[in-house]
């Protein structure tokens, strides 16, 4: 997939959760959303993108992607 599109999607999700003052809670919101709604290949690609520097990802999205697991029903 075009990584720019996935980055934009992750940042859009983060923009919603960024109203949360606790940044850890915001990142968890993004992580949980991505885990629940993104197909595994999308999750793999965004994780790989972060591992190669994560260009374009906002800070909240970076924190969220760093915590991604492969299980959609895991909520911290």
């Amino acid at each position: 997939m075009h990584i720019e599109r996935l980055v934009a999607m992750a940042n859009d999700i983060a923009a919603f959760f960024d109203s949360e003052p606790d940044k850890a809670v915001a990142a968890e919101g993004v992580r949980f959303h991505i885990t629940r709604f993104w197909d595994p290949r999308m999750r793999r690609e965004i994780v790989a993108h972060l591992q190669s520097g994560g260009a374009g990802l906002c800070e909240t999205a970076k924190s969220a992607v760093a915590q991604l697991t492969n299980s959609p029903n895991q909520s911290k």
């Binding site: 997939m1 075009h2 599109r5 999607m9 859009d12 999700i13 923009a15 919603f16 960024d18 109203s19 949360e20 959303h33 629940r36 709604f37 993104w38 197909d39 595994p40 290949r41 999308m42 299980s71 959609p72 029903n73």
Partner: protein, 943 residues
């Protein structure tokens, strides 16, 4: 002429009919007990003895003009009209005494003098001629008298409307049509003009119906007691042989209709007066525009081709299924099981939708299933589920009759949900207040006898800023319902939200620079909404189709919870669903992350339930959404797609991107009733069936499940559910349903909100609003009564985040999109009907100031360019749009409206941001070359 077999009670039931306040009287020696306030005419009908009438019908308030229904009442003087006289305890009524009959015959004779016996076509079932015959009147003693109508100025028959004609010579000036236009439809297009013999029904200013304000809802035609207003199809086809109740396949109102059939063909569609959703009304689409079902363009033979550049080859069903199955298997063998997927259709039945997602999950072995609701109301599901606990509207339509304040956000009900709009207008005429939040001056803002108290004419893309500003007023001015919130909502979430919206940054004053709405208007609207006492919000795609669509839905739910406007009649949050079965397709598990009943695929218990029933292991990971499928197709990881009843290439944004993705796939199987834009990229074409050709159910915007009944045999031999079943069998996953009722039984067994639903109950009750289960065996008209479905309602902080789509010097205008009354969605159905008489092309609405600055005049061709693409449209200069905003519809593929919309989408659901696109508009000499080539290829699509 009302539906065949309908028993007209003459006058409506009294308002607020209950078991209390009953009155017993005697009519022609028969004792009858009816609610207080009932007319004598209605009481007689209930007792089984209809009183003759010409001007009364039970959908309209009594008028008392024809004097045919007069009766004698013991102890009272004279002969009162039974339609306008209420029953009283102990009253003794004689409806056919000798003196009454003598008077009645005289009255009828006067009518017959202006309407000779035998004037009307037999198929009109003329009530006057029937009554006259029943009273032994063959001809009138008054015929030929100087007072006779034959001395009045003759008027030609008006045949301008494509569906009905008006023959003034057959009109008895009873005003039923005029009153239907006012009371039932609320358009006020008809009047009686002239005096005495020159009295005439007139459409607008004595204009032909087609050129008048008439919206062709047909209520006048149905109300007409003679053949004066009559469907052309009835004149041609004669009396129907049978009448079959079914459900409309157009918008999310889901009108109950009766299909009248002659020799296997529909000759007339009439609203079912027992229909709870439509209350006996219909619109120009549902009532008249059914001809597409038998249009010559229907595809009735399966077809296959190896490459999309090849010609189609007609094949047998068996060969088509075998080829599709082999291609899907080949792709999966080479690229993995997740390399293919399927799309369910919001135009198909619940049963068909359920089967498609079952096929994808069980036969394909993937969760790559999505639905066209992705591009319209997916934010509704997400937003309402998270805040209130259920992915659906909270009310039934009749609830609006109890609303004191009605808020319409991002919707134009008179265009897109016209039958509900008529109900809403009736309530507004009775005194409810109105707030419209829309960039455009929709018809409700100012129309006959209706004027919005507030029109918040916001800039496209600033919904969330407006709803937050309204919430700010509610919170800072102490207008919240604290006890309601304390009882029913999560305290912590409320405190967090309250602090957020109270921030001065969310005040109307701070937001007006962003929204373009004067602060005092937002303050006034917020106060009005909060103080209701019953305030109801109705919203459409102008809420959901934004980058913050989900946020806005949450913002609406926040506001409703904060003001206590949920959980009873007259209030609520009601999404107006675009297509007939958007609600149903979502309910049936069409989204890639959840099973029917909105349960996530990762939930082990739910998955185990399905696995046990379906005898197959199911995936626990969410699949791809439609836009993700396109992305995956372009990178080669997604190569096959089964599409039931959806036209991505016309309906989805950024057409160039969509068609590139479709072109990249190796096997697209499309199931549709017509060739469409997406079919150009398909390898297998499976002929679909229209709603007239199958059994099933639709679920409308109020969660109402209604039966669809087969009126004629499928033109291609198979109903859609049978096609999916055969494809599944070809893939090696057996399905063997004998009737859609069996599929519904499976849905009920697997879905907690449908446990109590079955065809026998649907037939018995007429319709059922889910949840329907042991807790609510008759269904649930109003949700969240007493408590929210999720337990405690949850407030979400809804910060306004501007869309990335901004105006610039290059693209200085904001384009937003919508619909018109006479066309539907991508137009596949309505473009193949005579509705083209009203709307034969999409136009661009442009404000006069913007037009003048560009040297553009009304009717000019204009080029519309965005960063995604460009197209050419004819322009309509109007103040319906504000300066800086342009608007168009997308009913015609040659308009290319989605060539210019972008890939921006809602953060939570990827619902496209159709409603905000930065564009430039310039005058051009002619349509684009591709548009002219396309039009040259297209014969007339009129059917």
């Amino acid at each position: 002429m009302h539906a065949q077999g309908y028993h007209d009670h003459g006058t409506p039931a009294p308002a607020g009919e209950t078991s209390a306040g009953k009155v017993t009287l005697e009519i022609d020696g028969v004792s009858v007990t009816v609610p207080a306030g009932t007319s004598i005419m209605r009481a007689a009908a209930i007792a089984g003895g209809d009183i003759p009438t010409l001007c009364a019908t039970d959908t309209l308030k009594a008028f008392g003009s024809c004097r045919v229904c007069l009766v004698e009442i013991e102890g009272r003087k004279g002969f009162p009209a039974s339609c306008t006289t209420e029953v009283a305890a102990g009253m003794k009524v004689r409806t056919a005494s000798e003196s009454v009959q003598k008077l009645r015959r005289n009255v009828l004779e006067l009518y017959v003098s202006e309407h000779p016996m035998g004037s009307c076509p037999g198929s009109s079932r003329c009530e006057l001629e029937s009554l006259a015959a029943a009273h032994g009147i063959g001809e009138s003693r008054f015929a030929g008298a100087a007072t006779s109508r034959e001395f009045a100025t003759p008027k030609p028959v008006d045949v301008s409307n494509p569906y009905f004609r008006f023959d003034n010579d057959l009109c008895i000036v009873c005003s039923r049509c005029v009153r239907a236009c006012e009371d039932t439809q609320g358009t006020f297009a008809l009047t009686i003009e002239g005096r005495g013999l020159e009295s005439r029904v007139s459409a607008s200013q004595q204009q032909p119906f087609l050129e008048s304000e008439c919206v062709s809802c047909g209520a006048c035609v149905e109300a007409c007691p003679t053949g004066a207003l009559l469907e052309k199809s009835v004149i041609t086809a004669g009396l129907p042989q049978k009448a079959i109740p079914t459900t409309c396949a157009y918008c999310g109102v889901g009108c109950s209709l009766v299909a009248e059939v002659t020799d296997g063909a529909v000759t007339r569609m009439v609203p079912n007066r027992a229909g709870r959703a439509n209350q006996g009304h219909a619109c120009v689409k549902g009532r008249f525009a059914y001809g597409y079902a038998t249009h010559a363009d229907r595809v009735t033979r399966p077809m296959i081709r190896k490459r999309i550049t090849d010609e189609w080859r007609e094949v047998s069903w068996e060969e088509a299924f075998a080829y599709a199955a082999s291609e899907f298997k080949r792709i999966q063998a080479a690229h993995g099981k997740d390399s293919i997927g399927g799309i369910t259709s919001s135009r198909c039945t619940n049963e068909e939708t359920f089967l498609v997602q079952k096929l994808v999950r069980a036969a394909f072995g993937t969760n790559n299933v999505d639905t066209c609701a992705r591009v319209c109301h997916s934010p509704t599901g997400y937003g309402l589920k998270h805040t209130l606990g259920e992915s659906a509207g909270t009310q039934e339509f009749v609830s609006v009759q109890h609303a004191d304040v009605i808020v319409v956000i991002g919707a134009s009900p008179t265009e897109a949900h016209p039958v509900f709009a008529s109900q809403m207008k009736r309530r507004l005429r009775a005194g409810a207040r109105l707030i419209v939040i829309d960039p455009r001056a929709i018809a409700l803002v100012k129309s006959p006898h209706i004027e919005a108290d507030y029109h918040l004419r916001l800039l496209p893309g600033t919904n969330v800023a407006v709803i937050n500003a309204m919430a700010h007023v509610v919170v800072t001015e102490g207008l919240t319902q604290e006890q309601y919130i304390a009882d029913r909502c999560e305290a912590a979430s409320y405190e967090k939200w309250k602090k957020f919206v109270a921030d001065p940054a969310n005040s109307p004053e701070a937001m007006q620079q962003i929204t373009g709405v004067p602060a005092e208007l937002i303050r006034g609207a917020a106060r009005l909404y909060a103080q209701g006492p019953n305030s109801a919000i109705y919203y459409g795609l102008g809420v959901t189709e934004h980058s913050q669509g989900t946020t806005m839905v949450m913002g609406i739910a926040n506001l409703a919870m904060a003001t206590g406007n949920l959980g009873r009649e007259g209030v609520g949050v009601s999404p107006l669903r675009g297509q007939n079965n958007v609600q149903g397709s979502c309910d049936m598990g069409s989204f890639p992350h959840e099973f029917s009943g909105y349960r996530h695929v990762s939930d082990d218990a739910t998955r185990a339930l399905f696995e046990s029933m379906w005898k197959v292991q199911l995936g626990s990971e969410p699949g791809l959404r439609i836009p993700n499928m396109f992305e995956a197709a372009l990178d080669g990881s997604f190569r096959g797609l089964y599409i039931q009843g959806e036209d991505f290439a016309q309906s989805d944004p950024n057409t160039a991107h969509v068609t590139a993705a479709l072109s990249a796939m190796e096997c697209i199987v499309i199931q549709d009733i017509f060739h469409n834009e997406t079919a150009k990229f398909a390898h297998v074409f499976l002929p679909g069936s229209s709603f007239l050709e199958k059994d099933g159910t639709f679920t409308n915007a109020e969660r109402r499940i209604s039966r669809v009944r087969k009126v004629m045999e499928p033109l291609a031999g198979l109903a859609d559910w049978e096609v999916t079943m055969r494809l599944s069998n070809a893939l090696g996953y057996p399905m063997s349903y004998g009737h859609p009722s069996q599929i519904m039984d499976e849905i009920a067994a697997l879905t907690p909100t449908f446990t109590g639903v079955n065809y026998e109950k649907l037939d018995r009750l007429g319709s059922i609003q889910w949840p329907c289960n042991d807790q609510a065996p008759q269904g649930t008209p109003t949700m969240h009564v007493g408590s929210f479905v999720r337990g405690k309602g949850k407030f979400y902080v809804t910060a306004y985040v501007p869309t990335n789509e901004r105006t610039s010097s290059r693209y200085p205008l904001l384009l937003t999109t919508g619909r018109v009354l006479t066309q539907y969605n991508v137009g596949a159905q309505t473009r193949r009907t005579a509705n083209l008489a009203w709307h034969s092309e999409d136009r661009l609405e442009l404000h006069p100031h913007d037009a003048e600055a560009r040297g553009i005049e009304h009717g000019d061709w204009v080029g519309v360019t965005s960063r995604a693409g460009d197209t050419v449209l004819r322009v309509e200069i109007t103040e319906r749009v504000a300066p800086g905003v342009v608007y168009t519809t997308f009913h015609f593929p040659e308009s290319g409206a989605n060539l210019i919309t972008t890939e921006n989408s809602d953060w939570a659901t990827n619902c496209p941001e159709y409603k905000v696109t930065a564009v430039q508009v310039v005058k051009v000499a002619q349509p684009a070359a591709w548009q002219m080539r396309r039009q040259a290829k297209q014969p007339s699509t009129m059917g």
